[in-house]
Amino acid sequence: MSDHSGRHPVQPIAVVGGGPVGLAAAIALASTGENVTLVARKVPYVDNRTTALLGKSIDFLDDIGVWRLCADKSAALKVMRLIDDTGRLVRAPEVRFSCEEIGRAAFGYNIENRLLIAALEQRASECASLTRIDDDAAGIIPGDAAVNVIAKGGQQLNARLVVGCDGRHSLCREAADIAVERRDLGQTALTFNVSHTRPHRDTSTEFHTPSGPCVFVPLPDQRCSVVWVSRPDEAARLSALGDAELGRAAERQAHSILGAMSVEGARFTFPLSIERPARLAAKRIVLAGEAAHVIPPIGAQGLNMGLRDASDLAELVAECLALGGDPGSDDVLAGYQRSRGADIASRTFAIDLANRSLISDFLPVQPARAIGLGLIGSIGPLRRLAMREGLSPSWRNNLLRMM
């Protein structure tokens, strides 16, 4: 193995990628007091995605001093409704979860990604032990004692630990020689935001249609973000509609529960896939966020998982540093694999299953789903379990398996 540590000073930790997970990981790691270098280009956030931040994600963002910078721009989610709109023979009854049942003020908070990123960027710029290289990484070369990171513009550094938060086509993952299993789902998510004439009452509503879920998630004021999953041709058709027509289509899909809708700003489409890397860490490189897991947007799990990656990693690294350890050592890598592996694998599996049962035309699956949803909806303790579990680890085993 090549070793470049002689040519450039060795930094303890480098984070590659400035999406929400990379920024959060860099801030959390820097809060250990150790020096962290973030290699990420500062670019304005382009799409209109929003994130429903659930349970522990809020606690984590609060801990790293980010939540106070954006809490007022988010909308509380107090009720979640799941409505079977498959028009199938056997329909699931409507399920309605209320946060009061589990004694919380809210299940979570929905916020536009661009506002969350702005808060993360602001916090990152305040961290004394965080250095930014405003560039993409062009080369990642693992070595025995450190990983050599080369930026596009030529700047270089060596780091004991590299945290790959560089998204789906992760260069870090490739450098760590980690194979990835990828499956296209033949579905596309169309995202846009709407304002509507009737109040959302802090309720997010998910319609389960034969081609995928369509969910309306509250934003501040009388607005919602819409994630509409369908077959790619249908998504293309919807996306090409004029504002007025798309607004009407959305209203129809929502059965007018939010009244008339007007579309705000642009629309974006995301082809859906599931990606599973063979492992989460190797060669002094750990993967977090979409570099480590890509799942369809059902149950708002993606970024919530990514934030747990960041939070668990920061905790492991802090423990390691407190005993004078090497943050890129096998101990830390194995610890990360242990702490994140099961959560990521089981959720990816559950979301995949939920998505399949949703779009399955195979009749036996339909009553099973209907019964599952019906059971969860009508049995108090089960409901509460499902809700609590949805917020933090292991709703995998309950809610989704039954769907």
Binding site: G324, S329, D330
Partner: protein
């Protein structure tokens, strides 16, 4: 390593790199040591922070302290202690251990003063804030003389940490029969039970040097969790802190 030294025999360098890799592989031959290491480090760090009034939570909590690690092997304790800010001298009678330690420290870019020597051969006027005798007293020929030297080299304001194996029936069963024969953690013949030292014997030797034991902790292994933890049971493995009185 892209070593530029020309006087070094490349075959030797390769041998020491292999040896150092063996020592430092948490899943390799030294696995038991890696498992117990966090516990030992925590014990030493916390004792140092108490004694020198530092916060164990701050990085560099041992900065400025001079530490002697006797029987340092390939530096499993020396490196983390150095990262925590200490100036560490590591001594080991094995030349290949010292070479392996140096190879690894260079890769880690840590400045550690490794010496192939014994405490008896060291300059008797050197002084340290902390003297570590971790898993060595059970291997020395004269425990009393050894501890006299350790005490002499510990600054009056400092302390000594000793960890070893008690001489009890239980330790015979666990450390020799268990670790060497059943679990095969250690090569057979690593330990001689008669050389194990009881806490009372240590205390007597230390008292002669006006050192008192100010803390004592047992180190126990739970086979089901495959973990070591600190406990009050000092029947087998134990660690202690001794300070000038």
């Amino acid at each position: 390593m892209s070593s530029s030294a020309t006087t070094v025999d490349p075959a030797e360098v390769a041998r020491f790199s292999r040896l150092s890799a063996e020592w430092w592989d948490p899943a390799g031959k030294m696995a038991p040591l890696h498992k117990i290491n966090p516990l030992r480090l925590t014990y030493i760090r916390d004792a140092a922070c108490r004694k020198f009034d530092r916060s164990a939570r701050s990085l560099g909590c041992l900065s400025g302290l001079r530490i002697l690690d006797i029987g340092c092997g390939a530096g499993l304790l020396c490196e983390p202690l150095t990262r925590l800010g200490a100036q560490v001298v590591g001594v080991d009678p094995s030349e290949s251990n010292i070479a392996a330690a140096k190879v690894h420290a260079a890769k880690s870019e840590l400045l550690i003063d490794y010496r192939c020597t014994t405490i008896e051969e060291m300059n008797r006027h050197e002084r340290f804030d902390i003297v570590l005798a971790m898993e060595v007293v059970e291997h020395v020929t004269d425990v009393g003389a050894f501890l006299d030297r350790c005490a002499a080299m510990t600054k009056p304001s400092g302390f000594m940490t000793v960890s070893t194996i008690n001489r009890t029936l239980k330790s015979f069963a666990l450390a020799i029969v268990g670790a060497e024969y059943v679990l095969r953690w250690l090569p057979r013949g690593t330990h001689q039970w008669s050389k194990f030292v009881t806490p009372d014997e240590l205390a007597r030797h230390l008292e002669r040097n006006r050192f008192g034991i100010t803390d004592q902790a047992g180190v126990v292994y739970s086979p089901f969790a495959d973990r070591w933890s600190v406990a009050s049971d000092v029947d087998v493995n134990y660690m202690l802190i001794a300070e000038a009185v």
